[in-house]
Symmetry: C2
């Protein structure tokens, strides 16, 4: 295909106003060159049945030598095909950003090509995810994006869908053992290391930190936790890790945990929360205890509470996982796969890792 990227040759007379594109090769050209009909050319080009291998060969080779490229607009105009993608996700503020990203991929031209149907779950409701997954399959969608909160439960369903030709991507949280065509989300291990580096640097390399994990056994949290511990152990000998608590991704539990820590008289210089949920409660506790700002806190995501606590210094830094592009990339990957069976390069497509500080809160948030 002719590239649309050009480096300006200095001698220059090129460029062009909005003008008819320069002569492009069509099926008709091929047909004329070979003295055959346009229908046959079309059949050859698409490998459709009812054509002798001999002419097919000739057509294909002259197509290539003439530099034929199909005109997508004409194709789309005549077929009028519209693809449906199902996205099975929660719908809280974090996920709203995912939706926005997904929707942006269908802007302009996209709207004619694609429709995205949202199947709403609530956070951590694996059974409902399975039920919706089945509904999507029954609705005969062309592709599915899902954030499997219980990989073990979803994996057989994902595998079944993929086997039957319906591509599935996992986003935000993975089902690594499944046949999903790709995972799109944060590299949790790197995130854990970044958290470790930030906290250690904010403590000038020495002190005691507590870890509050969302769920000790949910993949994302576990990875964020383990990588954090490894990084501290490896690179920051002066930092000690104390107890590891579990907040069950609850909005309130971090409050109790923090109170318990200080009630027990444990000297803590930093707290690492492997989620964004519950940061409000944690901040409230630290303020009540009178150590907000003194105890350095690193957490995840940019929910309203987080932004506020970043602003007043209670949270030192928060790590984002770019929900917008999680949505965007999921739809894009599915679309590309559905239209030309094109798989992403690797098993995972990592979204960037935004680091939120007080100074840049205006640029963050969801």
């Amino acid at each position: 295909m002719e590239s649309s990227v050009h480096v300006h040759e200095h001698s220059s007379r090129g460029g062009g106003k909005p003008s008819r594109a320069k002569k492009t090769v069509t099926q008709k050209d091929i047909a004329r060159a070979l003295g055959i009909s346009r229908g046959t050319v079309d059949r050859a080009l698409h490998g459709r049945a009812g054509i002798s291998t001999a002419v097919k060969e000739r057509i294909l080779s002259t197509a290539k030598s003439l530099g034929y490229a199909p005109n997508k607009f004409a194709q789309l105009l005549v077929t009028g095909k519209k693809i449906t993608i199902a996205m099975i996700t929660p719908s809280d503020p974090f996920w709203v950003r995912v939706h926005e990203g997904a929707n942006s991929y269908l802007s302009e031209l996209g709207e004619w090509l694609l429709r995205v149907t949202w199947y709403e779950t609530t956070v951590h409701d694996p059974e409902r995810e399975v039920a919706l997954f089945q509904e999507a399959l029954e609705a005969r969608v062309d592709g599915i994006g899902i954030a499997p909160s219980d990989p073990d439960l979803l994996t057989p369903w994902i595998d079944r869908a993929v086997r039957s030709g319906i591509p599935v991507v996992t986003l935000n949280t993975d089902a690594p053992e499944s046949d999903r065509i790709v995972f799109i989300g944060q590299d949790s291990a790197v995130a854990g290391r970044v958290a470790a580096e930030l906290l250690a640097k904010f403590l000038l390399g020495r002190g005691r930190v507590a870890i509050i994990a969302g769920f000790k056994n949910v993949l994302v949290h576990k990875l964020r936790m383990d990588a954090f511990r490894d990084a501290i152990a490896k690179d920051y000998a002066g930092v000690a890790i104390g107890e590891i608590y579990e907040s069950h991704d609850s909005d309130s539990e971090p409050y109790e945990i923090a109170r318990a820590i200080f009630r027990a008289g444990i000297a803590v210089d930093g707290i690492y929360l492997t989620t964004g949920t519950g940061i409000g409660a944690l901040g409230r506790a630290l303020k009540e205890i009178g150590v907000a700002g003194t105890v350095k806190v690193v957490c995840f995501d940019f929910l309203a509470d987080t932004l506020e606590l970043l602003k007043d210094g209670t949270v030192s830094a928060s790590i984002g996982e770019d929900p917008y592009s999680q949505g965007y990339q999921s739809v894009k990957a599915l679309y590309n796969y559905i239209t030309d069976r094109r798989k992403p390069d690797g098993p995972a497509l990592y979204t960037r890792m935004d680091i939120g500080l007080r100074a840049n809160i205006d640029l963050l948030g969801y």
Copy 2:
């Protein structure tokens, strides 16, 4: 326009395989509804000449009530218009990422709509920028993206182009007084504040920092410098700012500057370099002096040198400006403006601010 976003209704029987899009309203429908011809409808819809205001009104209103939306594919198929955008930029590793971003906007369908011509400058060569700008105008391109290294010199040219209907966007560095339709790049003031926050936190809020500005009077550097100073003065009383040096964006000068600082016996705990250029030289000096890692360094961008120094701890953090999306957004803004005179929301479109640490270098780099 009918949206392509759907929330799954739980009663569900919806969805759909790749199927003919459901009945969409065409010009023909409008014509039939009004008992007039399709040509007239088209004229009304496009405000073309030769039509009575009476019928025009009726057409427009029924078009709206029927929910008519033009079929872009049909439009494009028949007009075959291809737009040319000129990008006037340097071509070093940083700018290669900008190119990649720009090119990605013309992927797939885009290639049929758009061509991007690159006009190569070298860093800080204002005269050449003007010359290339003129060339682009003569080549009758449909839009121009440029990183004006001397805003005063370029502004009259930008204004002239815009007046004559050729939209211009500035990227990476702005010409704020010009009529460019939008600036796409980093919010330098926020970047300066982020640098201040990082450095202050890495120093636990006390110490002495030196500033090395690329150019004290080049807009970007000046903003990064001033915002840094203001933020330190306002929020971090324990941090003192010493001398301000100028490296002239040179690859080597930071070496001399660092040596001079320490030769003079000035006690410096942190160094803020408002650019990425010359970080290699600065790192070399600090290593020779024996203070690499002790003196905290914050700088910009993720060039090869920077990544290496982040890795070995000589640089504590570096701030990226997302060159990829500078390219992507520039082309997108120009395209939207050219095709439907749609201006971006504000005068500036700020790209995100990546913070590079040792732990996430693998995700950065250009």
